[in-house]
């Protein structure tokens, strides 16, 4: 039982890191990405390969993973962020689909469908950390660092620039802010921090394959952020905890067929997202009415369509 809870605790910490980093771009920069699992995956593969061929020290694997994810996110962000939201959603969805193919097919690097096995455990100051009892404090510590880093960023002038862009891109631009640059940097930071979660994940399980980094994972992390509360500090962690506890709770309901638990869980959080958007767009932690996205892009029938501006930007 203790091992079960510790294992769950590790997973909640790792997914909380993912949810916090996705929230950083969704909640503060207004960028909705369906490719977060890609950066999680790149971090996991890069961290695992570094651990297998270079050194298992966390001070080697984590920087390697962060660098790889940062470079890849740059390739996504530079073209896609010159235009508006819809384009980024489409481009990130495309990247996610493409990445799954690459993870599954690039056999010499990712091990194909079979994945990478025998990944050395995370090494911290010469100590191999692999038991849940010792890994849980480590994952909590990393989570705490990520929380502190993102909060410092959000409260810095960079964070205020982000919020300004989210609330009104044209207003921020007219104040002389370099909107595409600021958005690109935020995406790179978010991807690099997501890679940290990937490295931890690979070192903890000592086995990874493509199944952990598919669109389902991107969707799950997005659901964590939205259900918890977009643009709040604690919402993503609450969302991660709820959605990871859900399968365990559902398996207590003995009348549900065990093979359908995954599908029932997805159905529940899908409907949960829709119902929250109708009644409480700010999420569980957020305020009743969404203040964060209100002016980001008014698309209601009766409002000025943003796509017209997107086209105008594109036409220039």
């Amino acid at each position: 039982m203790a091992a079960y809870l510790l294992n769950l605790g590790v997973l909640i910490s790792i997914y909380s890191i993912l949810a916090i980093t996705l929230n950083f771009i969704m909640g503060y920069a207004g960028i909705y990405s369906l490719a977060h699992a890609v950066f999680f995956g790149v971090g996991a593969y890069a961290g695992a390969l570094a651990a297998m061929h270079l050194s298992a020290s966390i001070f080697v694997t984590v920087p390697v993973a962060m660098a790889c994810a940062a470079v890849l996110s740059l390739a996504l962000a530079l073209p896609a962020l010159r235009v508006r939201g819809e384009y980024f959603v489409a481009a990130s969805l495309g990247l996610q689909v493409l990445a799954v193919t690459i993870f599954a097919e690039w056999k010499s690097v990712t091990g194909g469908i079979g994945g990478l096995i025998g990944i050395p455990p995370v090494d911290l100051f010469g100590q191999a950390v692999y038991r849940p009892a010792s890994f849980f404090p480590l994952s909590l510590a990393v989570l705490a660092i990520v929380i502190v880093v993102t909060r410092l960023l959000v409260r810095s002038s960079f964070g205020r620039n982000l919020t300004a862009i989210r609330d009104s891109e044209s207003a921020a631009a007219s104040f002389g802010k370099n909107v595409p640059l600021i958005k690109t940097i935020s995406v790179v930071i978010s991807a690099a921090l997501a890679a940290v979660a990937g490295t931890l994940y690979a070192g903890y399980l000592s086995f990874i394959n493509v199944e952990s980094f598919m669109l389902d994972t991107s969707v799950l992390v997005m659901a964590m952020v939205i259900i918890g509360g977009t643009g709040t500090s604690w919402g993503p962690i609450l969302g991660a905890a709820i959605l990871l506890l859900l399968p365990g709770l559902l398996s207590y309901l003995s009348f549900l067929p065990p093979t359908e638990i995954g599908a029932i869980q997805q159905t529940l959080y899908g409907l949960g997202m829709a119902i929250l958007m109708i009644f409480r767009p700010g999420g569980l932690v957020g305020r009743g009415k969404a203040r964060e996205t209100k002016s980001a892009a008014k698309v209601a029938v009766g409002q000025k369509p943003p796509a017209v501006e997107a086209k105008a930007e594109g036409a220039r």
């Binding site: 909705y32 819809e86 193919t101 899908g270 958007m277 594109g314």
Partner: protein, 289 residues
């Protein structure tokens, strides 16, 4: 002859993509609702047809059932999900997230009811016929292209000649003027959803009878519809049609060079090139903001 075979297959796939993308583009263009659950509508329609086929119903009844299911899902989403959201704020992303959530739920419910493995509907029409040495085409390919042409011409006629059609085009230009003119944008929105959703039906049925179905198809359909809408130019229905054919042909012709698992990468590459070089799309209007 390989290229000819692939080009003909590409046309068939392209016709399916084109119709689905036109449906999405019509909804997005006129109401500005980012209807991500469009892929789920496609999956639902296809599986309802499959169910009717399994139950031994005649094909026309199956088609009708699929159309009813598609329209019901589209209109229900508009009435029960989008209308309440738009009443209190209606930002692009709130609508997107709600739509996305419903899409996931529908996909999983379909998976629970019909299973998650591949299923196909086999008919006389899906059997390939030899037209040249080494070139085989099933009659469904011609039906797909004919459907795309027919539905597109019908839609153009509807949008240009009927009162509701003209109002829908006006809605995409200026909802304020629509209100000032005494029309109800919400009623028009429902029409857009009914029309856009029914457009997935031919593609859904042809996919069921050719390459087969699985509940996760929705995401692929959505990626294609989004890509075609952007490549064609947001708000341009003709653009979505052309881009749908372009993507289908490119995907199929890419098989000359790449293996089949890379087809989605081709779609992605085209989408990325357009975002990079021509974000307004093929027929995008250079509107002023």
């Amino acid at each position: 002859m390989l290229w000819l075979q692939l080009a003909l297959t590409g046309l068939q796939v392209g016709a399916v993509y084109a119709l689905t993308a036109v449906g999405f583009s019509l909804i997005f263009g006129s109401t500005r609702i980012f209807h991500f659950a469009h892929g789920a509508t496609f999956v639902l329609a296809a599986y309802v047809f499959y169910w009717a086929y399994q139950a031994g119903l005649p094909a026309p009844l199956g088609i009708l059932a699929a159309a009813v299911a598609a329209v019901a899902l589209g209109v229900t989403m508009d009435r029960l999900v989008y209308a309440p959201i738009q009443r209190h704020e209606g930002s692009f992303f709130t609508v997107f997230v709600a739509s996305f959530g419903v899409g996931i739920a529908v996909q999983n419910i379909v998976g629970m009811v019909f299973g998650r493995s591949f299923v196909t509907v086999t008919t006389e029409l899906s059997r390939s016929v030899k037209i040249l040495d080494g070139v085989y085409v099933s009659p469904l390919a011609w039906i797909a292209v004919a459907c795309a042409a027919l539905f597109f011409v019908g839609l153009q006629w509807f949008l240009r000649r009927t009162h509701v059609g003209m109002a829908l085009r006006a809605l995409s230009d200026s909802p304020e003027l629509i209100r000032a003119y005494g029309l109800d944008p919400r009623r028009l929105s429902t029409y857009a959803f009914a029309l856009g959703s029914v457009l997935v039906v031919p593609g859904a049925i042809i996919t069921a009878a050719t390459s087969g179905l699985n509940p996760a198809l929705g995401h692929h359909v959505m990626l294609i519809s989004l890509a075609a809408t952007i490549v064609g130019g947001i708000g341009s229905i003709g653009g979505a049609l052309a881009a749908g054919f372009l993507l289908g042909l490119a995907e199929s012709l890419a098989l000359i060079v790449f293996e089949s698992q890379w087809t989605e990468a081709v779609t992605f590459a085209i989408l990325f090139l357009f975002i990079l070089l021509r974000p307004a799309g093929l027929f995008g209007r250079a509107a002023t903001s």
